[in-house]
């Protein structure tokens, strides 16, 4: 997806929170990006570095935490790990999977001064 746009969204969320907490500066931003989410991480880092200029997040570090992909396998009737969308169940090889985790894109927390 368009990482520059996501970066703008992140900075916006961070600015709003920083304002609400009377922060002078944001030191770090933690993101939770699911392993199955539609984001290219390096591109996001690059974009964030560009977009944060001139904002309260000017010197903020970006920390990305990748949450693993999980899915419910219908034939197995069990929750399994899923590395990528479209992958088969690691246990039985079926594609009848319902993704339960790993598509999220969240700003988790920020460190402010």
């Amino acid at each position: 997806m368009h990482e520059m746009s996501l970066a703008e969204g992140i900075v916006q969320i961070v600015e709003t929170t920083a304002r609400a907490n009377d922060a002078r500066a944001v030191r770090a931003v933690w993101l939770a990006l699911g392993a199955l989410s539609h984001v290219e991480h390096e591109s996001l880092r690059f974009s964030f570095d560009v977009v944060k200029h001139g904002t309260v997040a000017h010197d903020a570090r970006l920390e990305i935490e990748i949450t693993p992909g999980r899915a419910w396998c219908m034939p197995c009737a069990e929750s399994v790990d899923l590395a990528r969308l479209g992958d088969a169940c690691p246990r039985c090889g079926s594609h009848q999977l319902q993704v339960t985790q790993g598509e999220e894109m969240r700003v988790k927390e920020i460190e402010i001064a």
Binding site: M1, H2, M4, S5, L6, E8, G9, I10, Q12, I13, V14, E15, T16, T17, R19, A20, N21, A23, R24, R27, A28, W30, A32, H38, R61, E63, E65, T67, M74, L85, G86, H95, Q96, L97, Q98, Q101, E104, M105, R106, V107, K108, E109, I110, E111, I112, A113
Partner: protein
Amino acid sequence: MCTTCGCGHGETKIEGDAHGHAHRHAGGSEHGHDHDHDHDHEHGHDHGHEHAPGCGHDHVHHHGHAHEQGDDAAHVHDHEHVLADGTVVRHSHDHGGVAVHGDHVHFGVGAAHAHAPGMSQTRMVQIEQDILAKNNQHARFNREFLAERGIFAVNLVSSPGSGKTTLLTESIQRLLPATPVTVIEGDQQTANDAERIRATGARALQINTGKGCHLDASMVERALERLQPPDKSVLFIENVGNLVCPAAFDLGEAHKVVVLSVTEGEDKPLKYPDMFKAATLMLLNKVDLLPYVSFDVAKCIEYARRVNPAIEVMQVSATKGDGMDTWLAWVRLHAVTAKHARTQPKVATAE
């Protein structure tokens, strides 16, 4: 402009707008032109922030680690906390030169070894906000708007050239007059598609996204206000021709329907999985051309089901009529359900 991704900044035009663009305020808040919504947080006064479901309130947590004497280099600590879903997260971070020794707080214990009076401590503020939260907020509003009026809304997505608009004009001609239909059209430029729709007798509103590559929920919200679709009708939203971006944006529709034509590759579902996963129904269009192309229908359906086991598939030809009855039966069935599920019955009016 897309409120989430900023694409098409200042360029979104909705038919009938004098100058339909969103703009930013000096304080960083921004809002669309024509309206003022209570639910829109960006109005220049701080509501704090929206929370992801399950996250009750934001809180500040201090790290408060004790340190061994003499440990006065810039500190790196391992910090562990547990997310709402049980995921344990460990990360290291620098305290920016602050250390706590028992009840004595040291400032300025970074590499400079200087005590800088007044240098502030840092604190953590938990946010847990979905990056797409703003779009989803608008999408929820749209969904409620439509539910209150008993309107069934479909978000039509595809590559450019799959035959969406023709499929729409052919569908509308068969649906009218028994089923009222309105259309929201999305394209970068021109009102060509909206005009083609209007020629069928249905009302249509064109959204030009400018440089933008997808419709988002706030654009659709503004369009709905202008369009005022009638109660108990069907709303088609023809998204910008794009098999990538629209997948991620909830517009408030009941279903995303992906249109794939047999003149495209049968492995499209594997190459663009996000879109096929987001769709409830795949319409395989232009089947009248099957004798002239090497398109493997069975394989295509298999690929689609691999990416989305629950996806329904219908084979149609908008121009020749194949499969149109089945597709329209699906539309009518959902329209009837939406009519009867109307959430807020209005005062009875003459119908």
